[in-house]
Amino acid sequence: MPLTASQPFIFTGCVEVRQALDHRATDERELLERLEEIPAGSVFYHTHGYFLRQRAITTVYGNDFASWMATQVRDQVLAERLAVVNPFEFASLEHLREELASIIHDHLRRLSAVPRVEFGEPFYFQQSHIVEVSLGAGANTLAEFRAGLASVDASAIYFHMVEARARLGRRAGDFAEWIRTSLGMPELADGIERIDTYMTSLERVRARVLALVDAALDGGAR
C-alpha cells in the first residue's frame, strides 16, 4: 500500500524578470563598493541565478563576480577565490555578501594597484523578480512525485531546490521538506537535502533526486 501524503506536492516552475540596476563597476575596488550597497536581491541574482540562466551549459565559474574577474578583469587569483564560495553554505544573503566583500577586500590589501577592466566589459549589477508558475496536478505519493519530477520544466528544480532555500527561507528545500513532513520519510529527505547544488546544472540535480527516489521506491516505498 503506497504511502499517501498528508498534503500533495505542487510543482512550481518559475520565470525570471530581470532588472538592470544603476550600478556598475570597472575595477575591483568599485566592485567592492557597489557590492556593499546593492540590494540583497542583486547578491542573490549574481550568485544563484546562473543555475536558471545557464541550464544547458555549466559555466566555469560558480558566480557572476568570479566569472567577471576571470574573463573581463583577467585577475585569475581573485576569480578563483570568489569561485570557491559556495552560496548554499550561508545562512543568509547578508552573510554571503559579507564573505564576498571580505575576500575582495583582503585581495586588494595585498596589491599595490587596483586591477581594472582594460579591454573587457564593466560589471553591470542586476536583480530579478520571480514569477511563479504552478505546474499541473499535485503528487500524493512518492511514485507520483517521481513521475512529476522526471517531466517537469527545469525551472521547477530551480524553484524548489534553489529559490526556496536561498531566498524564501525554506532551508531544507521543498522536495526534502515535503518528503519529510508529508510522506514521513526522513532518510530520503536527508539524502535530498545533502545534494550539492553548487557548480552543477539543474538537470544533474534532477537526476540525483530521481536516483535517490528510485532507490527508495526499489526499497519498497511507494
Partner: protein, 397 residues
C-alpha cells in the same frame, strides 16, 4: 498561421506548458505593441509572430504603428541615429513637428491597454497621451548608452514618463528615473530565415547564388559597413588561406551609403583577384538565402567592431554552426567562449580561431551542437513570449 503547439518540437521541454499556464493568468488582458512600422526592423520581424501567438493564447494583443509625413519619418530616423551615438543635426522645428505628428497619431490610435509596450523611437512620445489606466513601457532595441547629448536631453523627459523601460542588455541602457528590465531579443525557429532546410534545398539555393560547395565555407552575413568589418574578415581569411583551402562568402546589403559602397567596391576588387572570395549582395527579403548560407557554412563569422545585439550569431548557432564574433554588443552574451564559438578582438584573433577550428573538425561539430542547445534555451521566440508575459504579470499583477 503558426500556433504555439507547433513550437513543442523545437522549444525546450516544458516551455510550451509554462507558456500555456502563464497565458491562463493573463487571459483577456490587453497587451498593446506600438512601433514605427510592420516591416524592415528586428522588432517588427519578431512582432509579426509574437502578436498572433499572444492572441492565439487568449491575450487581447494588438499591434499599432505610427505614421506621418516624410519629415516625421526623417526626424524619427535621425533621432534614433543620434540616440545610438551618431553625430546628427536635430532642429527645434523638426523635433516640434515630430511631437505634433505623434499628437495626431494619438488621436487615431486606441491607446488604452493593461500594458503598452512602445518599441524604439518613432512612437515614443505617444506616452504624453497615455490613458490613466495601464502601464507604459519603452522597449529600446538598440544601444542607447552613449547618445548624442542634445538628442538625449530632448528624449529623456519622455522616457521618464514611462513606468519602466526594457533593454536588450544592461550595457545598452543609461541611468533613468524608471526601472529598467532586461529582455534579450530572439529568433523564430519556424520562420523562413530559421526553419529546417533539406540539404537538397540548401544546394539549390547556393547554386542560384553561384556558390560552389566543394570547399569548407567561411560565411559572414551582414551589411557591407565598417561596423561589420567585412574587410577585416577578408584579412583574417587571407591568414587562414595559407594553411587551409577554404572559401570565404561575404553576403549582405550595401544600404547605398557612401562608406558602404566604398567597402563593397573594395570587396569586389578582392573577389576579382581571388576566386575563393565570393561577395554576394542580397535583397532586403533574403531570409531563405540567409538560411541556406548559414546551413552551408562550416564556420560563421560575425566579426563586427560595432554591433547592437547581433542576432545573426544566434541564427547561425541554431543551425548548428560555431560562431566567431567580435567582442561587441550582444555577441559575448550569445557566444559562450570555447563552448559555442569564440569572441575575438582582432583580425589575428579571428584567423587564429578559424585555424583552430579548421584543424579540429570534431570541435566544429561539438560547438555547433552546443550552440544549437544554447539558442534553444536562451534565444528562441518562446523564451521571448515567456518574458513578455512575465513582464505583464509583474507590472500588472
Amino acid at each position: 498561421m503558426i500556433r504555439i503547439e507547433d513550437y513543442r518540437r523545437v522549444a525546450p521541454p516544458g516551455v510550451v506548458d509554462i507558456i500555456l499556464t502563464l497565458a491562463e493568468r493573463v487571459r483577456g488582458r490587453r497587451f498593446l505593441h506600438l512601433s514605427g512600422g510592420r516591416f524592415g526592423s528586428g522588432p517588427a520581424e519578431i512582432l509579426q509572430t509574437l502578436v498572433p501567438m499572444m492572441s492565439d493564447l487568449g491575450i487581447d494583443a494588438a499591434w499599432e504603428i505610427t505614421g506621418g509625413d516624410p519629415g516625421f519619418y526623417a526626424t524619427a530616423a535621425t533621432l534614433q541615429a543620434a540616440l545610438r551615438g551618431s553625430e546628427r543635426v536635430l532642429t527645434d522645428e523638426a523635433l516640434d513637428h515630430f511631437i505634433e505628428m505623434n499628437r495626431v497619431n494619438a488621436k487615431k490610435l486606441a491607446l488604452d491597454a493593461d500594458l503598452v509596450l512602445v518599441h524604439d523611437v518613432q512612437p515614443a512620445t505617444l506616452v504624453e497621451h497615455r490613458a490613466s489606466r495601464g502601464r507604459w513601457v519603452w522597449a529600446c532595441h538598440f544601444d542607447a548608452s552613449r547618445p548624442q547629448r542634445r538628442a538625449w536631453t530632448f528624449f529623456r523627459p519622455f522616457v521618464n514618463q514611462y513606468d519602466a523601460a526594457v533593454f536588450a542588455l544592461p550595457s545598452f541602457s543609461r541611468r533613468l528615473g524608471v526601472p529598467k528590465y532586461v529582455i534579450h531579443p530572439s529568433i523564430d525557429p519556424l520562420s523562413e530565415k530559421n526553419r529546417e532546410l533539406a540539404p537538397r534545398e540548401v544546394a539549390r539555393i547556393l547554386r542560384v547564388l553561384s556558390i560552389p560547395q566543394d570547399k569548407p565555407l567561411l560565411v559572414q552575413i551582414g551589411a557591407f559597413t565598417a561596423a561589420e568589418d567585412p574587410l577585416g574578415v577578408v584579412n583574417a581569411y587571407r591568414l587562414v588561406k595559407k594553411h587551409h583551402d577554404v572559401r570565404l562568402v561575404l553576403a549582405g546589403t550595401s544600404g547605398g551609403e557612401p562608406d558602404s559602397l566604398e567597402i563593397l567596391g573594395e570587396l569586389r576588387e578582392t573577389a576579382q583577384a581571388d576566386p575563393d572570395v565570393l561577395v554576394r549582395e542580397l535583397p532586403p527579403d533574403a531570409s531563405l538565402q540567409i538560411n541556406a548560407l548559414q546551413r552551408a557554412a562550416t564556420i560563421v563569422l560575425q566579426k563586427s567592431v560595432r554591433e547592437s545585439f547581433g542576432l545573426g550569431a544566434a541564427e547561425a548557432m541554431w543551425k548548428g554552426k560555431p560562431v566567431i564574433g567580435g567582442f561587441v554588443g550582444g555577441l559575448p552574451q550569445q557566444i559562450v567562449y570555447d563552448v559555442t564559438g569564440y569572441v575575438v578582438s582582432s583580425v589575428e584573433g579571428a584567423a587564429f580561431r578559424l585555424r583552430h577550428l579548421l584543424n579540429a573538425p570534431e570541435l566544429i561539430a561539438r560547438m555547433g551542437a552546443a550552440g544549437r542547445e544554447h539558442v534553444r534555451r536562451s534565444f528562441l521566440i518562446t523564451r521571448h513570449l515567456v518574458d513578455y508575459m512575465a513582464l505583464l504579470i509583474h507590472l500588472t499583477p
